[in-house]
Amino acid sequence: MTRPMRGIVHTLRDLARSRPAIRLWMGVLALIVLVALFGPLMAPQDAFAINPLAVLQGPSAAHPLGTDEFGRDLLSRLLIGIRPTMLVALGATAIAAAGGTTLGIFAAYGPNWLGTTIMRGVDVMLSFPPILLALLAVGFWKSGVSSLIIVIGILYIPHFARVAQAATLQVVRQEFIEAEHSMGAPYRRVVATGILPNILSPLVVQATLTLAAAILLESGLSFLGLGIVPPEPSWGQMIGTARGYLGQNPLYVLWPSACLALTVLAINIIGDALRDHLDPRLRQV
């Protein structure tokens, strides 16, 4: 493990020790990650098996959470429905982090004109609701996990760029960077050993925010019927379909809603706590 990575693990451990309530939410998140990894193995039934005789049923012994409009087992669909969402969220966050951090460091550490150009572009992109741009790209290009990863990833590059730029500007002014320069360190080395490790905490916080935002965006698009392609389920898409059957099976909409809300809540709460913990000014209060 590299040094900064170990730092993050330590931080999480500190956090869990100092705030017991956070431990609960970390547990929730761990459970969700487990389901994302092993959900298809846990599913009690075939999530794609259609049964016209058991349509929109409430909970029963055969179907603990009931069935959907095709008589498919809701528990099984719920268990496999998190995986595409998680894939999209993780992939998109990785793209946004890599692209945005690179741009942000260039903007703060590179020549002035480059910085101005990058940050103006960032401002323009940030001033538009991401769901509209995503809607266009997905609608006219193609749906599915891989294109959602690329589209959502690109949409969140500006957020990372802004955070990375602000953090880099602070680090660059410090004396040890000047010292590295005067000792003749190449720019590449200064970025890798001087800047990057020192701007990591705000980036980690931004990553949690982006994860939650990407989950919401994917779910929103799938809710509109423009995200994950059926019959493969995702929680957002299940909610979108279930809204047509609120009268027949109210529980149908509640299960995926509860799962999705809990996931986003867990990520947001841990992210908030992480931000408070990493910001020394807030820690003293």
């Binding site: 001033s127 609701p129 290009w141 193609k142 779910s219 809710f223 609120l246 809540l265």
Partner: protein, 324 residues
């Protein structure tokens, strides 16, 4: 100089920026089709479809894609300036008329949502700040975390289940024209507006609480108390006034999210607004309709931001002076 006259140069400069932003968006909306990988006509006809060469040529001509790009661009900008966004590919109906029909419905929903947000968010934030550290404060603060995290369509579905299906107080979805039945019109507005407004209410409550707490700790508040001014007067006349700027800021910043949220809320409640038109047009690959809808939403967004900045300058003399 009267404060309003001092604002004139600020307003003019901001108007200039807004016009540039509009031009940028119009250009982007034009270029969108060419930025996506692949032949634009094939994108519109669908990736997997197998159209005849005649159909391809017909659509190319209908969209004017057979002309040089510069001509297409100037034509598009000229049309936009005259309020002509072309015609729908689906039924040849002018896009501008669709927009004229749907935009007021979306604006009504958004304005109602902002009202809901302010009416709920401000008192909650003030109450939490005044009872800092009590059980009521932590309950209210947790509720705001929930309000920020829960997606609008989940909130909306819950509200439908409770108030439409459970209690049968309000209609679950749909739209009735104001001229046909005013009461029904507003009954159908309540649930979507509350759904859309609650998230913003949570943001406003959080910001109000934080901002009030900060101002309450300032020296001038201590001085006012020492002078013997009543607590009510201090809160309403002095603290809230100083706390207003960050609150207006958060409302301004969240308006983009609100516009994004209308897409989902309109879909959930079958509200036939601009966002519904956009989603349908994207599904139908009706490109002129998509362009018109996006441009209108972007223009609304830019104008709202303009308004928010002007309100700041009215609220905060310091911002006004810095600009001059």
């Amino acid at each position: 100089m009267s404060p309003l006259i001092a604002l004139v140069p600020v307003v003019l400069r901001r108007l200039g920026t807004a016009l540039l932003q509009l031009l940028a968006v119009a250009t982007l909306v034009f270029a969108m089709l060419f930025l996506l990988p692949g032949d634009p006509v094939m994108i519109l006809l669908g990736q997997d479809s197998n159209p005849t060469p005649e159909a391809v040529a017909a659509l190319r001509e209908k969209l004017g894609l057979d002309r040089p790009i510069a001509v297409q661009y100037l034509d598009w900008l000229g049309g936009v300036l005259r309020g002509d966004f072309g015609r729908s590919l689906a039924n040849d109906y002018p896009v501008a008329q669709y927009i004229a029909q749907t935009l007021p419905r979306t604006l009504e929903l958004a304005v109602a949502a902002i009202l809901v947000a302010v009416v709920i968010g401000l008192p909650v934030g003030i109450a939490a700040a005044l009872r800092r550290g009590t059980l009521a404060d932590s309950l209210l603060t947790s509720a705001t975390t929930l309000g920020i995290s829960v997606p609008v369509y989940i909130l909306g579905a819950l509200l439908i289940l409770i108030f439409a299906q459970g209690l049968n107080w309000l209609p679950a979805s749909g739209y009735t024209d104001l001229s046909r039945n005013a009461l029904e019109h507003f009954r159908k507005l309540v649930l979507p507006a509350v759904t859309l407004g609650l998230g913003l209410a949570a943001s406003i409550a959080r910001m109000t609480r934080a901002s009030m707490l900060e101002i309450l700790g300032r020296d001038f508040v201590r001085t006012l108390r020492a002078k013997g001014m009543g607590e009510t007067q201090i809160i309403w006349q002095h603290v809230l006034r100083s706390a207003a700027i960050p609150i207006v800021t958060i409302v301004g910043l969240q308006l983009g999210n609100l516009l994004g949220g209308t897409v989902l809320v309109e879909a959930l409640f079958n509200w036939p607004g601009l966002a519904t038109m956009l989603v349908k047009a994207v599904g139908d690959r009706d490109y002129p309709m998509v362009q018109g809808a996006i441009l209108t939403i972007a223009a609304a967004f830019i104008l709202i931001n303009l308004a928010v900045e002007l309100i700041y300058s009215l609220l905060d003399p310091r911002i006004r002076r810095r600009r001059q």
